[in-house]
Symmetry: C2
Subunit: 483 residues, 2 copies
Amino acid sequence: MSIQTPNWVKNAVFYEIFPDRFAKAKPPKNASQNFQQVEFEPWHDPPTIQGYKGGNLWGVMEKLDYLQDLGITALYFTPIFQSACNHRYHTHDYYRVDPILGGNEALQELLKQAHQRNMKVVLDGVFNHASRGFFYFNDILENGPYSPWVNWFHIQDWPVSAYNGDLPANYAGWVGNRALPEFNHENPDVREYIMQVGEYWIKQGIDGWRLDVPYQIEIPGFWEEFRERVKKINSEAYIVGEVWSDARYWLDGNQFDGVMNYVFTGPTIAFTAGDRVDRALVEQPDYTPYPAQNASEYAQHIETLLGMYDWEIQLTQLNLLASHDTARLFSIAQGDRASVKLATMLLLTFPGAPCIYYGDEVGLPGALDPDSRRCFPSEEAWDQDLLQWHKTLIQLRHRYPALRTGEYKILYAKNLVYVFARSLAASELIIGINAATEATEVQVSTDQLHSQPQNKLCGEGNWRWEKDTLVLSLPPRQGCLIG
Amino acid sequence: MSIQTPNWVKNAVFYEIFPDRFAKAKPPKNASQNFQQVEFEPWHDPPTIQGYKGGNLWGVMEKLDYLQDLGITALYFTPIFQSACNHRYHTHDYYRVDPILGGNEALQELLKQAHQRNMKVVLDGVFNHASRGFFYFNDILENGPYSPWVNWFHIQDWPVSAYNGDLPANYAGWVGNRALPEFNHENPDVREYIMQVGEYWIKQGIDGWRLDVPYQIEIPGFWEEFRERVKKINSEAYIVGEVWSDARYWLDGNQFDGVMNYVFTGPTIAFTAGDRVDRALVEQPDYTPYPAQNASEYAQHIETLLGMYDWEIQLTQLNLLASHDTARLFSIAQGDRASVKLATMLLLTFPGAPCIYYGDEVGLPGALDPDSRRCFPSEEAWDQDLLQWHKTLIQLRHRYPALRTGEYKILYAKNLVYVFARSLAASELIIGINAATEATEVQVSTDQLHSQPQNKLCGEGNWRWEKDTLVLSLPPRQGCLIG
């Protein structure tokens, strides 16, 4: 059977929200969870590792106009379930939205409001591990070997020591972190528990799951079953895995619809930002935005990437320049706006769903965690030029189906100039990127095209057609979209 | 305004269920929580402090026929919310029924089935303290002073040490127990949180709250507000507090409808079991079933008790001979069945709702915790004589309104013979108890009565009327109910 992925994703522009930091609003007066006395860190102070800023889903709802105006059609939230941690990857309760965020009722209202705007909502599912406070693990802390839930985790010895680092933890934790006890996925009850969580929120109306470190659940058939059960409830649900590298194993059509496409991210930064990349900010996550790449190396990477997966999968990849797990490109490129703009142009003209990390569109800086998770700035601090760049490119993506689902054809890749086309039936668009600091004129052979686009849709550049050749002049560090 | 208490309670016979130990059944096939691999301790092995037997609400439903046949009209459950402890006083989640018990769906089904039988359901609310795994406290464990929930508890210093007893806990726990962090009830958010829990389950259909250690919440107006909000949803909801001694402060009509009436329990045991009481089993809980009392001392206690509260309150007290917090009378009396039968007769003929501690009706023994929480025995092990005694007395209580709401008149109290009447309009019943080991004949003046009951309804004894005097012969260690 041929691979099937959700159509809406192919046409979506995602926005990744880190809920503690994006927006904060007072709950409506009739909200049942309406805490008055809770104190949070000041919104615009630098974030700390453990502090909460108090962002919530009520705040997100107030921002829906802004997001819609930006052109966003889908929201991907980092975890929102009850968690004793500001990033909420330490799940305390898989069935409850965190009270700080507004609880389950705020999610229901958000789903309603988002869906009214034809905006989708994808949640982050952390199913490899739970937290020390998660009920089934907490019972082991309280009752030791008497706990009926001992087989839900990988207990190695007694006593387990969850909070005292002087003693061996005696259980498996994610990357050895005792705060994050790993599930025993071989236990059919655990497996069923996770499957039911997956089903539950789809039934509640979410449009898909982003799966945290899914490659660490190495149980045959696990993700196949997850897909089957989720899709049975909503055949258009999106399942996107956090896989940083070659994801062919998971993208065979039976598991995920796409992955967090860091295989796109790394080379795109290495090409557009080049030597401007601050290595200290990129050595940790495994996505190699360095060393600097020239256009030909970049083209090779892109060709390899496009050859990796079925086209149906390519169209539902989640493409990104940054996430909560990386520094922001603006900081990686040491404040070089051109790097951000060129990379953003490549992102928004690539097959697969582009995903903007909240704040990137207004030039929010951010080094490594926790700095990469600053609060969304107030309007005075927005980089309006960058914001306009994002809006324009997103609008163009929405206007031209070729930018979403058209064939990707590399036309030219030499030195620091990279030119490619997206074509869908009669519609053809050409994107030229000059990553060099000098102006350049290149002769692009366009045998692969059957038209000669004439209109500058975005960016800077001049061109003329000489028979089948596009003679393209690009100013230094500029890109141009011709359609 | 005059005191108002729920009418149904005045006519109810309660049964206290310790859910881990009463009954276990397989969940229905369509239940969403259906764990297959969880192992529990063998049902009939002696209970351990930390082990689970795996009783559940599905099992309770299977026992409803039995309970109805016994004459029970109301169930009082010790805590059923998610808790990492077999007695579930360590609440982990106030909004979720424990998964072992069948989760929220099992409670919903139980409520449906119980209400179809006109049986009420009262839950145990533990609002003085939570548990170490409770979300808001767990956040403090994870984030220390960065937690937004610091003011939800009484944190005294950092770091808090919840699991390592070698360090000071640095927070207030119930009777110094670090497993049970005490709420800061002065925080309006905490107060509101508890009020909403109280409201939520009433809205879900429960018929009342038994409140754990409510006297430890010493916030003016707290229980008044709780009553007001609960009664606003269901004016017939029952609110019964765990108060072991003089409860006038809480029984002023603005707080509770009744208390766990241990002020009745102690003297009743001291009179009926006398020197048979095993002091080792009763020294701990504060309800003085020793030293032995004679009939006159017992009468004094009862008169004092009946003088303590408004009659409307008396009728909705929760009267009991044992609970999960005490040893069972059968063991306290060192296996003396007569003590149990006499005390049971006094219980079931007293104003206020009698409450049978599960298993007491079939002679289940039980020393102190955990022995007092044995699993309900299989039928071969039932004391059928005791069971029949309970059934008969409960039936009589249902048949004769005077036993429920009639005036209580002490007629005779000398040596070890105690005689009293319950009278309601034309209906009068006389109860005679001979706690002595010798047969006795007593002359009971009945000026207070306006009739001369002639029928033996239950028990052993002979009598004749000599004008206004009842000449009553009672065999050793027997009681007689005349109506």
